[in-house]
Amino acid sequence: MAIERNGVILIDEEGRRSDGRKWDELRPIHIKVGVLRRADGSALVEMGKTKVLASVYGPREIHPRHLALPDKAILRVAYRMATFSVTERKKPQPSRREIELSKVIKEALAPALILDEFPRTAIEVYALVLQADGGTRVASINAAALALADAGIPMKDLVTAIAVGRIGNYIVVDLNDLEDKYGDADMPIAMIPVTDEITLLQMDGTMTPEQFDKCLEAAKRAILEIYDLQKEALRYRYLQIKKELMEEQSK
């Protein structure tokens, strides 16, 4: 039995999703670390058609100074959508949604950072959604974590995120925009894989407690998959730096 919402077939008769994926299948993911020259750290993360660029600066001086903390660095995060990342042009001024997501992304990243090495400074993360097709906050977290690592900020581990959700009785992983909009529930999750801590958890729509448990499990599996891709991208970046350094020395 196909599942249709607002005239859109979200799950077809064979249980395939609108873009042909199985319920627990991720979209093609591309990750590249160190894509910007001027930022201290940066990463490009593509989850299907969702494309996010993140940059990191710091630790650096804070203005106004009274915001500084005497015992640790403060983390500042801005999540923004490019005006042309969505169907209707978004105004450049941050929306309430962008302000809320900046806050929860910050709080998803903070637990992984060792902030007390740099008192009185700020570490600043900026994530720009270039193209939005669902899951922009989780792609931003995946990119930001890598940009932080690329900037050499001391971390316990990366942070990895995925959105899971529900369409009828189906649990689905890595929701695209259609599924996000017309599905029955959407639940973005971020974890620190190495400590098993959940650092972002949001939900809207409805789920029974049992469906919620299934979502958590599916999310955890997906996160480990993405975590491997993140680590691979970081490794590639380090090899690249090493190569560049060796080339420079051999000059």
């Binding site: 650092t199 939900m203 809207d204």
Partner: protein
């Protein structure tokens, strides 16, 4: 960049005292780990708001007002009314709040309340059309923090649903459907069409301990925050993790279990208070005695 929420400095001694109590399953205000503070609701106490409620959750106080007006519908939902949740966390309520545009915290709370109401489909938006495609009811739910002794989220949620449940729409007559002209039949009113009663439960994690409904001293030393919303069917209809720490899977399972156990009694409490409490100027009589 978004400024950090200012936390008050709690003395190291006080923090250790709280942690020591928690180890024994106790809290500084004498509650059990998963007890709510006393909840008191004064509904419909404001005359110029179409709906209102003052909520006391222990010493935390929130005032919510509902204003209704006529507006154009959104182009993609031409036959549905509109509601907007807004939170004003101003210096009245806490030395940590500042004047100016809403802080990211106020925006977060408003959006969590909005999501719970929306996901639970509490308001029958399709019954809020006046002239389909042209004119619909717009419901503004404005949450004012009055005294922040912790857990503004749950207080705001109770305030929002109580204000809606005590609220009304004025009766109107359509004068000219073409030109979208309508006339309010003053005095006559009918309840806002509702069909669900979402509630939220907010937990604080303090080191290895979880507590429900944190007071502001607990909030000041908490590592992270978790809010779970349930609709009348006891389905989960919103979740929000907040603050810069993390949760273990077991923490979340524990929170879920507690929430499912407590939902019905909280929902009953809200319904009962709305039924029995005085309204209008009489509500103020009661308020002055509080």
């Amino acid at each position: 960049m978004i400024p950090e929420i200012k936390k008050e400095i709690i003395s190291k001694l006080e923090e250790e005292h709280i942690l020591a109590l928690l180890k024994d399953g106790k809290r500084i205000d004498g509650r059990g780990l998963f007890d709510f503070r006393n909840i008191e609701i004064l509904p419909a106490l404001l005359e110029k708001a179409e709906g209102s409620a003052l909520v006391r959750l222990g010493d935390t106080k929130v005032l919510v007002g509902v204003k209704v007006s006529m507006a154009k519908p959104f182009p993609d939902t031409p036959n549905e009314g509109v509601f907007v949740v807004n939170a004003e966390f101003n210096p009245l309520a806490s030395p940590a709040f500042e004047l100016g545009p809403p802080s990211d915290y106020a925006i977060e709370v408003a959006r969590v309340v909005d999501r719970a109401i929306r996901s639970a489909e509490m308001i029958k938006l399709d019954e809020l059309a006046i002239i389909p495609g042209e004119l619909v009811w717009m419901i503004n739910i404005d949450i004012y923090a009055i005294d922040d002794d912790g857990n503004l989220i749950d207080a705001s949620m109770i305030g929002a649903v109580a204000a809606l449940m005590s609220g009304y729409l004025p009766k109107i007559e359509i004068i000219d459907e073409e030109k979208g002209k309508v006339e309010v039949i003053s005095e006559e009113k009918y309840p806002i069409p509702l069909q669900n009663l979402p509630i939220t439960f907010t937990f604080a994690k303090i080191r290895d301990f979880m507590v429900l409904d944190p007071n502001h001293i607990e909030e000041n030393i908490m590592d992270s925050r978790l809010t779970i919303a349930l609709n009348s069917q006891n389905e989960i209809c919103a979740i929000q993790k907040g603050e810069g720490g993390g949760f273990k899977f077991e923490d979340i399972q524990l929170a879920k279990d507690i929430v499912l156990k407590k939902a019905d009694s909280i929902r009953n409490l809200i319904v009962n208070q709305l039924a029995k409490k005085p309204r209008g100027e009489e509500a103020w009589d009661e308020l002055r005695r509080l």
